[in-house]
C-alpha cells in the first residue's frame, strides 16, 4: 500500500480495522469524534467486520468493553477529557480484572471551564489506574502504536491507553505509510475465537476479597507492570522486522553532546525537535528527551539516556499542571532521578491549558534559565511569555 495523507484519528481508525478488533464501543466527544465516525463508516460499509456499538455514555462504553473483554473478544474504545474522567472507575476495574482493552485518549483540557485545548491532564490524571500509557508524537506513530498495543495487551493482560494531542495530531494530516493487512496479521495474535470462560465450569470472577488476597493481586499487577518496558522492547524488535519501523521506550536526540536537555511528550516533542537545529550559533548545546512510554515509566532507559556528564540543565515541558505541585512530567522525572548520579538542574516550563509552543517562546525559556539560575525552583509559565 502506498503512502497516504491522513490525520491522527483516521490513522487510529485504520489501525483498529487492521487489528481486526471484534468489538468497538464508544461515545463521541470532540476531538475524538472523527475517529469513531471513521470506524462507524467502515463498519457501515462492511470494511470493518467487527461490531461497532454506540452507547449512551463513556461510562457504558468502557463497561461494555469490560463485558466483551471478559468474553474474550478483542476490544477498542476511544475518548477524550471528560469522557476519560467519566470512565475513571472502570479504568481501575479493567486493569484490576486484567482485561486486554485498548483505548485511545485524544488529549483535551478537562473543564471547568469548557475548553477544546490539548491539555494533557485528562490522561495524566489516570496514570494510577494501572493502564499502560503511550504518548504519540506523530500520525504514523499513532497507527503503529495502536497495532502494537493489541499485541501487548493480549500478551500481558494489562490494558493500554494510546494518547495523542487533540487537533494537533487528531486533526492534522501527515503522510503515513499504512501497513499491509498481512503484516498486521503476522504481528498480532489471531483474534480470539472462543469465550474466555465456560459456563459448564463454575467460577466467580472479581468477587469480594480480603486484604491478603487483594494485596497479592496488586503486587502481581505491579510486578507485571515492571516487566512492560522489557516486553515492549522485545515486541518492538518483532515490529521492526515486520514493518521496518521502530519505536523506543523514550527517544533521545543529541543527548551525547547536549548540555541542556528539553523533555517533552507527544507532539510537543516534535515541535522541540524541529527547534533544535533552528539556530546554528546557539551558545547552549540542545538535546531532546521524548517521553513515549509513560506508564510504566521506563526508569532505567531514561536514567541511562540522561546519564551523560555533559547534561547540566533539564527543561521539562508540561502541558498540564497538578495544582499546587506543578507539571506532572517534571514531578515524575524528579522522582525518577532521585538516587541516580546526576547533578544537573531541572527547570519546569508549563503550557497548561493547551498553550501552543512557539520558537520565540522556546528562546525566552532558554534565556530565562541562563540568566536566572534561581528559576530552577519556579515554574516558567508559557502564558507569561506570550
Amino acid at each position: 500500500m502506498g503512502r497516504k495523507l491522513m490525520n491522527g484519528n483516521q490513522a487510529a481508525a485504520l489501525a483498529v480495522k487492521y487489528s481486526r478488533v471484534q468489538v468497538v464501543c464508544a461515545y463521541p466527544i470532540t476531538p475524538q469524534t472523527s475517529l469513531v465516525e471513521n470506524i462507524a463508516q467502515m463498519w457501515a460499509g462492511g470494511e470493518f467486520p467487527g461490531e461497532y456499538v454506540s452507547v449512551e455514555s463513556e461510562y457504558s462504553a468502557l463497561s461494555y468493553l469490560i463485558g466483551a473483554s471478559y468474553s474474550g473478544a478483542r476490544t477498542f474504545t476511544a475518548t477524550s477529557c471528560q469522557g476519560l474522567a467519566y470512565m475513571h472507575e472502570l479504568l481501575h476495574w479493567a486493569a484490576g480484572a486484567r482485561l486486554p482493552i485498548v483505548l485511545v485518549n485524544v488529549n483535551r483540557a478537562l473543564g471547568a471551564p469548557w475548553s477544546l485545548e490539548p491539555d494533557q491532564l485528562d490522561s495524566l490524571s489516570q496514570r494510577d489506574t494501572g493502564w499502560i500509557q503511550f504518548y504519540c508524537a506523530d500520525v504514523q506513530e499513532i497507527m503503529d502504536t495502536l497495532i502494537f498495543s493489541f499485541r501487548l495487551v493480549e500478551q500481558t493482560r494489562i490494558p493500554c491507553m494510546v494518547v495523542y494531542d487533540g487537533f494537533v495530531l487528531s486533526h492534522t494530516y501527515e503522510v503515513v505509510e499504512p501497513p499491509l493487512q498481512e503484516q498486521v496479521d503476522h504481528f498480532l495474535l489471531s483474534p480470539p475465537s472462543r469465550a474466555a470462560f465456560h459456563t459448564d465450569k463454575p467460577q466467580t470472577i472479581q468477587a469480594v476479597t480480603d486484604s491478603r488476597y487483594l494485596s497479592r493481586v496488586l503486587q502481581e499487577r505491579h510486578l507485571s507492570m515492571l516487566k512492560i518496558p522489557g516486553i515492549v522492547k522485545e515486541l518492538d524488535h518483532k515490529f521492526q522486522e515486520i514493518f521496518a519501523r521502530s519505536y523506543p521506550l523514550a527517544e533521545g536526540t543529541n543527548l551525547e553532546t547536549a548540555d541542556t536537555v528539553i523533555v517533552a511528550a507527544g507532539s510537543l516533542a516534535q515541535t522541540v525537535k524541529s527547534f533544535l537545529n533552528t539556530v546554528e550559533d546557539r551558545k547552549e548545546k540542545l538535546g531532546l528527551l521524548r517521553l513515549r512510554l509513560f506508564r510504566p515509566l521506563p526508569k532505567d532507559e531514561i536514567a541511562s539516556l540522561l546519564s551523560g556528564d555533559n547534561i547540566k540543565k533539564i527543561v521539562v515541558i508540561d502541558r498540564n499542571v497538578s495544582a499546587g505541585v506543578g507539571g506532572i512530567f517534571a514531578q515524575e522525572l524528579r522522582a525518577l532521578l532521585q538516587g541516580i548520579p546526576y547533578r544537573g538542574k531541572i527547570f519546569e516550563f508549563n503550557l497548561a491549558g493547551g498553550i501552543d509552543l512557539t520558537p520565540a517562546m522556546m528562546e525566552k525559556v532558554l534565556q530565562a534559565i541562563s540568566e536566572d539560575p534561581g528559576s530552577e525552583g519556579k515554574i516558567i509559565w508559557g502564558v507569561d511569555l506570550q
Binding site: 471484534q22 449512551e56 461510562y59 473483554s69 480470539p192 465450569k201 468477587a207
Partner: protein, 298 residues
Amino acid sequence: MINTLVGDFSREEFMLSGHNACSGCGPAIAMRFIMKVAASGAVVVIPASCWSIISGVVPLRSLKTVVLHCPFPAAAATGGGIKKGLEAVGDSRTQVIVLAGDGGTFDIGLQGISGAAERNEDIIFICYDNEAYMNTGTQKSSATPYGSYSATTPAPKVKSDPKKDIMEIVAAHRVPYAATATIAFPGDLSQKIQRALETKGFRFIHILTPCPEGWGSPADITVKLSRLAVLTRLFPLYEIKNGAEYKLNFLPEDYLPVNEYLKPQKRFASLDKLQIEHIQESVENHWKELCCKTGTRK
C-alpha cells in the same frame, strides 16, 4: 422435577447451601428459582449489591455457573458487552443474566439500563428489589416506598416521595419483555424467567424480594410479606410485551387492605392513619391504571 404445592420445579440446584445471605433472605430465594430455570447455561453479571456477597467471598462461590462481578452502575452495559463479546467469539447460545439490586437498577444503574434497553441488548436484566441499599445497611433508594424508614430517611423524616415506577420506565423503551414477579409465587416467577429465556432482546424482570433486616420484619415472614404485597395489590404481578401489551398474571380473589402488608414491618412504624389511607389510595389508583392497560374489569 419436584411437584410442590407452589409449582413444579427442577430437582437440580444451581445455587449452593452455605451462602452468606442473612437468615430469611428474600433475594436468596429469588435467585434459587432464577437459577433453577436458567440452569448453568447462563453467565450471571452482578453489580454491587447483596448478591455481591451472597455469591461468595473469595474463595467461596455459591452459584454453579460463571459469575462476573462489575461496578455498581455498569451492570447493563457490562452484560450487553459480555453478550456481544460472546457472539464475537462464536458463542451465540450462552445467555447473559444481569442480577442487580434496586440501587443498581432504579438509581445508579438506570442510565445503563436505558441505554441497553434502547439498543435492545440481548440480555435478561433482573432487578431484585428489596427497596433500599440493604447491603450497606438500609439507606434509601428511589425504590424505597413512601413512608418507609431508612438510615438516610430516619423518622420523622421518613421517605416522603413515592417509589419510582421502574416498569413504566422500562416499558417506555418498548422492550420485548418486561415482567414483575415475587418470591411467594415461585411458579409464576419461574415461568417468567422461562419466557425471558425464550425471548430475544432486552428482557426485564422486576422481582420484589423482602429483606427482614432492612424491613424490620421477622425472618420467617419473608415469603408471607411477598404474598401480602400481591394480595394487597401493592405489587401486582404482570407482564408487558413490546412495551404495550399488558397482562395481569394474578388477580387476587379479594383485596386485602395495605395495612396487612405494612403492619408487620418496622420500617413503616411511623405511619399514621392518614398516611396509610394515602398509600391505600395510591395502590388503588395504580391498580386502576393497570386494569385499564390490561383490560381487566375488577
